[in-house]
Subunit: 329 residues, 2 copies
Amino acid sequence: MQKFIKFEKSPSIISCYSVVGKHEKEGPIGECFDEYSHDDTFGKKSWEQAESEMQRMALRGAINKSGLNNDEIDLLIAGDLLNQCVGSTYGLVSFDIPYIGIYGACSTCALGLALGASLLEGGMCEKCASVTSSHYCSSERQFRFPLEYGGQRTPTSQWTVTGSGAFILGKEGNIKIKSAMFGKSVDMGVTDINNMGAAMAPAAVDTICSFLQNSSHRVEDFDMIVTGDLGYEGSEILKDLLLSKDIDIRKNHVDCGLLIYDRFSQDKHAGGSGCGCSASVLAGNILKNMEAGAIHDILFIGTGALMNPMTLYQGQSIPSIAHLVHIGR
Amino acid sequence: MQKFIKFEKSPSIISCYSVVGKHEKEGPIGECFDEYSHDDTFGKKSWEQAESEMQRMALRGAINKSGLNNDEIDLLIAGDLLNQCVGSTYGLVSFDIPYIGIYGACSTCALGLALGASLLEGGMCEKCASVTSSHYCSSERQFRFPLEYGGQRTPTSQWTVTGSGAFILGKEGNIKIKSAMFGKSVDMGVTDINNMGAAMAPAAVDTICSFLQNSSHRVEDFDMIVTGDLGYEGSEILKDLLLSKDIDIRKNHVDCGLLIYDRFSQDKHAGGSGCGCSASVLAGNILKNMEAGAIHDILFIGTGALMNPMTLYQGQSIPSIAHLVHIGR
């Protein structure tokens, strides 16, 4: 059984900042993002460098909003989807802050927040930052095909969000991280690289069930139960699987991958995905609504698929994971 | 300035276990490793699966030695060099323990121990495990050339260790993690993928200097100052750079990459490297010597190069990092 970590010292999110690409800016919640690039290059010569630049912009924005200086941030927790997490390592080297690299695939935002809150709670730091990103063009080249190939996408495939979110954590601030749960990895035998939602949904089920069993909370306690990027396929599977265990989240479930694009006008198939999906939607949209008082308590569950293309070529299935943070004011 | 984290609640290493390949078994400290494979396949069909199997063997061995059951371990902290850290994700899914994925390249062992000790100290868990690995054959294919290509190696290139080390952390045990320091990433402009030692040495200098400035410790307080995998090139650079700052570690410096192979009979060029290098040498050799009372206090500094082949093709230099843990009894 996963350990439910209740934070007594109220680690909080002092500030956050979101940066996205053109398609995300044109989507239904496009107005809420803090910064964007009209051509997804962010002024850089390669997609990988564009992704690093997004992280740099996001962290700089979050630090500026917090009113802190770089040297007041004790730890930087970051990771992304690129091989060896180079979006983060190249993006953040100039900040000169002690760096903890993490890898949780698309669950990275939730993993970083859970880890940051744990280190704050334990007194290992006074302030820390959590950053992540994904970029459609660098991801497609790495995980599927270069864009120039013009490959056709299956209906269950998701569209990697070009976006980054950065969060500054400390002890002051209205928005608290109240508890967290690190997920177990789960492998249900899904082998379709074009159906990440199906691979990740069972991990979300596992973590949500453990959280509800371990804490005294019920589904109704939360204004929203937010999953990271299950998309249309994975969200339906999640709700069905939970319903079979008498847990009904249909009224308050939202998925960041469904919020970020318009299903009909934007043709993104099964919805958005990627580390940057949940990070930019949480920072740009959900936490702003919480700051404004429109919502008070959410469960934020980041989901990640822990394979790489090589393991699938070798016939293995896709292990996945879901990390949870309870955020409220 | 990096924050020096002094642990008051004495997180300790309850048990550890090392697994290596054929060349490592044949090396000068080969007798000390707990388990090995005579053909580096570990009975698997691919090198990636062999690497996962090593992690499985190492964690199983460490758990058995600790006398605990899987479900008494609250958290599993793991990562490796493979794209998307699949050595760990596939290797450890069957343990059914909440999983924190980390990425620190070859610094992963030190990063995992520092993070595990921090989470224990903060009360986020009662027991946790830290695991990492590298495999010569999976690394060569991914970072350089497939072995079948028969590429020639430059004199400064290092040999990725086929090995894994697993550590169980808790609060009982003679061997304590007394303090830790998370490193900053440092980029000194090195672009040679065949000279990782030169890229990583400045990060080790940065972390060692910060540690000595922040703590009340002097070089002489330690029986050994152990770096992970700087090899012959990087170790000389480290000692020279420190000497230029009036810090002389020549008497007590050892590098895991120099301990594991014989320079003359094994033809490994600049020494061993990889996440599995420092992990297997620490678990198999150094901590056994500490347990036996031959050494009492060490600084263990894991060094990592945070690039990938793509960023080097794109003309970027190599950022690197060094995380430090002070281990003693």
